[in-house]
Symmetry: C2
Subunit: 339 residues, 2 copies
């Protein structure tokens, strides 16, 4: 079984985006927020079958851990009430996709974060999504400001109430920022990668996993810059008198395979233990074109892994077993189906 741990609903029907626009307009005009728009199952099917499902079939993935469009989470737009309504609407839409294609998708939720708001305010939506909607994890935004990086580091006690809830629910989080409102940062070309790199370094600096030994966090986009600079991070841990990364960070942190060329994937597998790598494609996502050097889609990351000279067991771990370990609620769903 091939589980893609990183897929976004980037192709929702147009009334979903129109609703967001109306919502932000209402916020600016201080009028009542608009109600969630109606959309038929067929409208949703159309957007999924022409995109995510088509690509799953073409590329040979079986199941995608599916979440709302990351760049549109945009907690820096509107206020906390707007973010609550938008998150709820987004998560409910993911739930509809999962209900239409339960074999192909499992849900991961967006959180109603808002700059300056306590992270505890996101716990209720996490619980609703996990306990009522059957979701298996969440996307946690380390910088709800949209590019100012003014939240406390992830090891700060600020985040503890949420991590406690995650551990209690036994769900992991993917650390994932949203769109950038900072002109210095292109969202998918700089902001995402910077946030990934930053999170990892924060894990080195702090003692988060001493406080939460059962917490599991996925750093997307192949771990940002980290595998390429693995020597730097090992060296910095040493200079900062932190334990070895294998003990201090890598019992709790996982990287996905959203790295869009063979040499990058080769490096990832050379320096990072297979147990810490989850197959992911980020599709339909950041980079949608065909690589002229290979003739295949940049984000068809399964091809790069297929090409690796690693054992069949290692491939099975990356494609399936690691995800089932990191997302135990997904494992339970699959086991209930006899898988």
């Amino acid at each position: 079984m091939i589980i893609d741990c990183h897929g976004h609903y980037t192709t929702a029907p147009p009334q979903h985006d129109a609703w967001r626009k109306a919502q932000l307009a209402a916020f600016n005009d201080r009028t009542t927020l608009p109600a969630v728009p109606t959309m038929s199952d067929d409208e949703i099917r159309e957007t999924i079958e022409a995109n995510q499902l088509k690509l799953q079939r073409e590329r040979g993935a079986d199941l995608t851990i599916f979440s709302p469009r990351a760049s549109a989470m945009a907690p820096h737009q509107g206020d906390e009430a707007v973010s609550q309504a938008w998150s709820r609407g987004n998560n409910d839409l993911i739930k509809r996709v999962v209900d239409l294609y339960p074999q192909n998708f499992v849900g991961v939720c967006q959180l109603p974060q808002s700059p300056g708001a306590p992270i505890a305010n996101s716990i209720a939506e996490l619980k609703r999504c996990v306990e009522e909607l059957g979701f298996v994890g969440c996307n946690l935004n380390p910088d709800p400001s949209g590019g100012h990086f003014d939240s406390p580091p992830l090891y700060d006690r600020f985040w503890h109430p949420f991590f406690e809830a995650m551990v209690e629910l036994d769900v992991p989080a993917m650390i994932h920022v949203s769109g950038s409102c900072n002109p210095a940062f292109h969202a998918t070309g700089a902001y995402y990668i910077n946030a990934d790199t930053t999170a990892f370094m924060q894990f080195i600096e702090g003692d988060l996993f001493k406080d939460f030994p059962d917490l599991r966090l996925i750093i997307p986009h192949g771990g940002g810059a980290v595998p390429y600079h693995w020597g730097r991070y090992r060296g910095l841990a040493d200079m900062l008198k932190r334990p070895l990364l294998s003990e201090h960070v890598m019992r709790n942190v996982y990287f996905d395979t959203c790295v869009y060329h063979q040499p990058g994937i080769d490096l990832l597998f050379e320096v990072i233990d297979v147990k810490n790598i989850l197959f992911g494609s980020e599709m339909v996502g950041a980079v949608r074109g065909i690589d002229p050097q290979t003739g295949f889609y940049f984000d068809d990351t399964k091809r790069y892994i297929d090409a690796l000279d690693i054992s069949a067991q290692a491939k099975r771990d990356v494609f399936e077993m690691n995800a089932r370990r990191v997302y135990p609620r997904l494992d339970a769903i699959l086991k209930a189906r006899g898988l």
Copy 2:
């Protein structure tokens, strides 16, 4: 000849740091800024011979392109007048090192940037350092705020006056941030790498090198996350309908080899043309320890390049000829010596 393009004077005599402290204290107290402290040639010699010169000899480098300590440039501390005095003092100190060891060091200057100040205000110090002190380049800080990334992107016209001066003087800049005042960013573990990645993406987004075809910029730390995500950047250039990176960016941009493990260096040379790579070590710098996996210093980057299976000509280019091409004033100095 082995030219290290990236070395900082991180080991200056203690009165230099004491001067900085007094300077910032005077700024806070609104009193007169203190005068540059006296230090003897012997005091300078001692700090260089025990550190940079010792390591040059041990590791087999001949000449270091040498600049003030990057993390201490800190243009976000004090105001522009403080930054002017501090930059001038730092650059004059580099000049003293170069005069003491002209065979071993050539100068690159810090700029008196200050958050919000026009970059044109840094031109005079650049000219002084190049024309009067014989420096061959500069370190340009894309984020003088120290971690807020609130300056215009590097393709913005904001930066044009400075790039015009660089082209006129025929000197390159290394794009290098300083210390971080943002608790989210560890300086050498997150901020540096993020700034590198961000700069590269800005070059993709803009048309800087159409405006300045002769501009040469070095992105340090192996180009941040860029080589690891080379497929993403090729794909984003395509999605954004930019020209091929080889034409759009890589005629003007160079990466150094400050990547502290063999697999990272292997990747760098696999995806980036040799003509765009300059040998650099960042020593004595970010990571000072010995890699327990190899028994050698993490930042002894020459070893990684020596181990590459590339031609002797490629090695000569990376160790010497590329630096002479990117820093023509260095080339002129060496030619005048018959080298």
